[in-house]
Symmetry: C2
Subunit: 195 residues, 2 copies
């Protein structure tokens, strides 16, 4: 029972630390999170942390990678449920807005992440999110649905608009009402790309 495989033990401690970090980073923010407290919360010390992740930034990076994977998956699902590619693009953006409403994603992915690790477009997975959108845009340009704009530029702008909408909504008194306004305006705006 106590005789677990080594690799498995390591994976467990890494998972424990990442879980604790998600909790601490999203509630207190990155810089206010003490690594001493964080590790102690799961029965470890900073030794384990520095051994596994190198430094505090390394832990944040690991957390971001994990959340990024989850976001990508949710966007994929949203797009798959749409009737056609154009709807898929819109649904994906709406999903993005909704995710950005969650405090954890907002704090870690949208606020602390970029500030600590630099521009988000450098992150491999964030790029993956974007590449999804971009490839759909390209597809829609090819089949004549969209104007022949630069696909990457269009994807960036759409994501940017969605992201800012999300930050706005999250800070609003009545998120529901604001969400509706934002989505409505977003759908209108997006038609600017249609041929």
């Amino acid at each position: 029972m106590a005789a677990k495989r080594r690799a498995q033990m390591v994976e467990e401690t890494r998972a424990k630390l990442i879980r604790a970090a998600r909790e601490a980073f999203s509630s207190k923010g990155y810089s206010a999170s003490s690594m001493d407290d964080l590790t102690a919360a799961v029965g470890l010390t900073r030794g384990a942390l520095y051994h596994n992740f190198g430094d505090k930034k390394g832990l944040l990076q690991a957390v971001i990678d994990q959340i990024d994977g989850e976001m990508l998956e949710r966007m994929r699902i949203a797009q798959e449920h749409a009737a056609n590619p154009w709807e898929g693009l819109l649904q994906e953006s709406v999903a993005y807005i909704e995710m950005a409403l969650e405090p954890e994603i907002q704090r870690i992915m949208l606020l602390d992440g970029p500030a600590v690790l630099g521009d988000p477009s450098q992150w491999p997975n964030q790029t993956a999110c974007l590449r999804r959108t971009e490839s759909i845009v390209r597809e829609l340009i090819d089949d004549g649905t969209l104007k022949p704009v630069d696909a990457e530029a269009a994807a960036r702008l759409l994501n940017g608009a969605a992201l800012n909408a999300a930050l706005w909504i999250a800070a609003a008194d009545d998120p529901r009402a604001v969400l509706k306004k934002a989505v409505d305006a977003f759908l209108e705006l997006a038609t600017g790309l249609r041929r």
Copy 2:
């Protein structure tokens, strides 16, 4: 000569500290900037800082207020030089993109600011920037140029798209080429709001 008025002396030290902070924050980032070094660089100590700004965040807030004022002014100028309100709206957004290319604005206003002080829409001046855009949008809706969308939502989305475009451009290998792509796509996207 040395007999200056007190208020003037205070204004000078505040200006010195803000100038040093703009330099330090934009080059090293907020958290990596030591208040000891920063104050020593202009011949003061942390005493002056904590007396004038309360704490490190207070200094950042002062820096942000100053930069915000400059940004607002530049957007105002860009919009005034346009032939008509619709062009004014576009020019203002382009000016925003161009400003966001500057490392100082990017680092302080777009990365560290939101992370340290919270959502930008809480900042009084950032709201002022937005209010400008919003009032123009409202005007254009009233005169029938734009679709009857929610003015604030539209303003947010436009600013968000512009902001993300700027971050993209800044990280690009060939900023000039990318700037052109982004502006082109932005102008197309914005037409989605036209009636």
